[in-house]
């Protein structure tokens, strides 16, 4: 996917070397960019970012692993060897490599491999939901706060301080406790918890961009504010946001697993990796593998997100690296 899109954008860059991405270039080159309608330079910083990501081995491998997980999640119902909720009380707590149960069976005789495969779908959906909530709250608030500044900014930042003074998991537990336990409520709570991360990031990036020469240049030739936002500011927040998404996804997954482990997330008979650890915990003495497998999967996935986040951060242009 990345490769097919790098082609055209590289040629765009060669046509217009003074694209918005080249904010660090001397002012002389910028004039050309301003003189032409900047439509064709859209996403300059973004395409540079993508090119650098493609060169980062760690990030590429991590993207591959995530792609595989997404594929598994999408086709899950068709590849499970057995019905993940099919009970068989004659074959409970079978060890791995048993006949018909590659990774063993749980306390109700359900196939663990099938439940892990279906759990992939639940766990990834949970991340998407939490990230969506976090971004819907955090990104516009951060953008307005950074762009407008003044009293509004002060108000938002005070609210943000208050939100960040809550011990993260405890606030989620309280919210779920009030709203009632379900995967949806759990992930809304986690999303609210993660929103300040996006808020601070976007605010920082926008404040930095407001001072950039190319934004000032654009404003000085009379570009309307709306156009400046759409053409210059929004595209340049994309790559830092991508880094934040990767890093935050790991936290979202751990939070979902934690809440489901406490019984506040996904409800039986559905399973996420976190809720499978909960079940495994009850049988730790008799069937330790029950809890071990889902934990390994969570650890590997979060590790992939962390590696991806590190790789993406390295791929950011120097001008985009704000504290986050």
């Amino acid at each position: 996917m990345t490769q097919s899109q790098t082609g055209p954008t590289t040629s765009e860059l060669s046509v217009a070397p003074g694209a918005p991405a080249a904010a660090g270039l001397p002012a002389g080159t910028d004039v050309a960019a301003v003189a032409h309608p900047p439509v064709r330079h859209r996403g300059g910083a973004w395409s540079n970012f993508r090119r650098r990501v493609a060169k980062n081995t760690g990030a590429v491998i991590a993207l591959g692993v995530l792609g595989l997980l997404v594929v598994i999640a999408v086709i899950a119902p068709w590849i499970t060897p057995a019905d993940p909720n099919q009970q068989d009380l004659r074959s409970v707590l079978l060890p791995p490599f048993s006949d018909g149960y590659l990774l063993g069976s749980d306390q109700l005789g359900r196939d663990i491999l099938s439940r892990l495969i279906m759990g992939t779908r639940v766990s990834l959906l949970a991340i998407v939901l939490a990230l969506a909530v976090a971004m819907v709250i955090g990104v516009p608030a951060g953008f307005l706060s950074g762009f407008l500044g003044g009293r509004f900014d002060m108000l938002v930042m005070r609210l943000n301080d208050a939100a960040m003074s809550f011990p993260p998991l405890l606030l989620a537990i309280a919210l779920v406790g009030v709203l009632g336990p379900s995967l949806r409520n759990a992930m809304i709570a986690v999303g609210i918890l993660l929103a300040p991360r996006f808020l601070r990031l976007v605010r920082g990036v926008v404040i930095g961009l407001k001072e950039e020469t190319f934004v000032e240049a654009s404003r000085s030739i009379g570009t309307r504010t709306r156009t400046i936002i759409v053409r210059h500011i929004l595209p340049n927040t994309l790559s830092p946001l991508t880094v934040a998404i990767a890093v935050t996804a790991g936290y979202a997954m751990l939070s979902e697993a934690g809440l489901s482990f406490l019984g506040l997330g996904v409800q039986p008979p559905d399973a996420s990796w976190g809720s499978m650890i909960r079940e495994g915990f009850l049988y730790v003495g008799r069937a330790p593998w029950l809890g071990i497998f889902p934990g390994v999967l969570i650890a590997l996935t979060v590790f992939t997100f962390v590696t991806l986040g590190d790789g993406l951060r390295d791929a950011l242009g120097r001008e985009e690296r704000t504290e986050s």
Binding site: D161, G177, V178, V284, G291, F303
Partner: protein, 314 residues
């Protein structure tokens, strides 16, 4: 310094006021009529009315908030809907346990993180650094409750070295207190250590690139002197920031670890309250936890101001 202290204390007030709004507002988030929801599906009309009266839901919102805040300030957090115990008493019993666990975990995380970060930053790019970085990424990725499960499996069930669950107060039996605390503290501390190692390593590398470090080296100061006198002194400032972040995170993470090891701390009380929708208890716990976190962070900031005169206002 006095002015900085006053100013810093004053800025926490609006944050605390906002926090009380949020904690109080939890009741408003209950879908439908809170009294009906809390009473459960089988409750009679009288029971619902009794709950409504006990929670004060029949009065105006502002009056409710004011009553709640003023009694909370005098130490009265209401009574549990489920056990009819004073919320403050339940929290008072559980808080020392949580603080002991969080404190021990903080110790574990610092003992791991500080040396690892120093070695890894000084030997940047070598295999030691790579192993440490990989280890800290893995440490972040491991779900703490799962790590606890593995510890129970290995150290309690297989080797039989340490008790798997439970808690013994220090006053009853100090030795048992320690053995019961080791596994939970290790579990909680490892997650914190991973995060701290990454942040500390970054800040030490930042200090190493400073001009004054180059100057110190250039004038022929021995490596150990440079690190001891210049690098560590300046890198200790970010360590204080890391401490502040850690305290808030540990208080949250403790909930999971307490559940795994059956430690009767705030987390256990919180989970019990959440499963029974015991709103006053939930509100009380969140409020107390935030207070602890805010006070700890205030102390951290004051230490920070003491160590680094640049952040003090003039």
């Amino acid at each position: 310094m006095l002015r900085f202290l006053l100013l810093r204390v004053l800025t926490t007030i609006p944050v605390l006021v906002l926090v009380t709004f949020v904690v109080f507002g939890l009741v408003l988030l209950i879908p439908g009529d809170p009294a009906v929801t809390i009473a459960g599906p089988d409750a009679t009309v009288e029971q619902v009315a009794a709950i409504r009266e006990r929670l004060g839901l029949d009065r105006s919102l502002l009056v409710q908030y004011w009553d709640w805040v003023t009694s909370a300030m005098s130490g009265d957090l209401g009574t549990s809907l489920y056990t009819s115990r004073a919320v403050a008493t339940s929290i008072g019993d559980a808080l020392p346990v949580s603080i002991a666990l969080a404190g021990a975990a903080l110790l574990v995380s610092l003992v791991i993180a500080v040396p690892t970060a120093i070695v890894s930053a000084l030997r940047r790019g070598t295999w030691i650094d790579r192993v440490a970085t990989l280890g800290s990424s893995l440490g972040i990725a491991l779900p703490s409750f799962w790590l606890g499960l593995v510890f129970v499996l290995v150290f309690s069930l297989t080797l039989g070295w340490l008790p798997a669950t439970g808690y013994v107060p220090f006053a009853t039996d100090p030795a048992a207190w320690v053995t019961h605390l080791i596994l939970p503290a290790l579990t909680l501390g490892i997650a914190g250590a991973a995060e701290s190692t990454r942040q500390l390593r970054g800040s030490i590398i930042g200090v190493l690139q400073q001009d004054y470090v180059r100057t110190a080296r250039a004038k022929g100061l021995r490596g150990r002197m440079v690190v001891g006198k210049h690098v560590m002194k300046n890198a200790s400032v970010p360590l204080v920031t890391v401490l502040g972040l850690q305290i808030t995170a540990l208080l949250g993470g403790a909930v999971l670890v307490e559940q795994v090891f059956g430690v009767p701390g705030l987390g256990q009380v919180a989970i019990a309250a959440v499963t029974t929708r015991d709103i006053p208890v939930i509100q009380g716990i969140v409020l107390v936890a935030v207070l602890v976190a805010v006070v700890c962070n205030l102390l951290v900031d004051l230490v920070y101001g003491y160590l680094n005169p640049k952040v003090r206002p003039r």
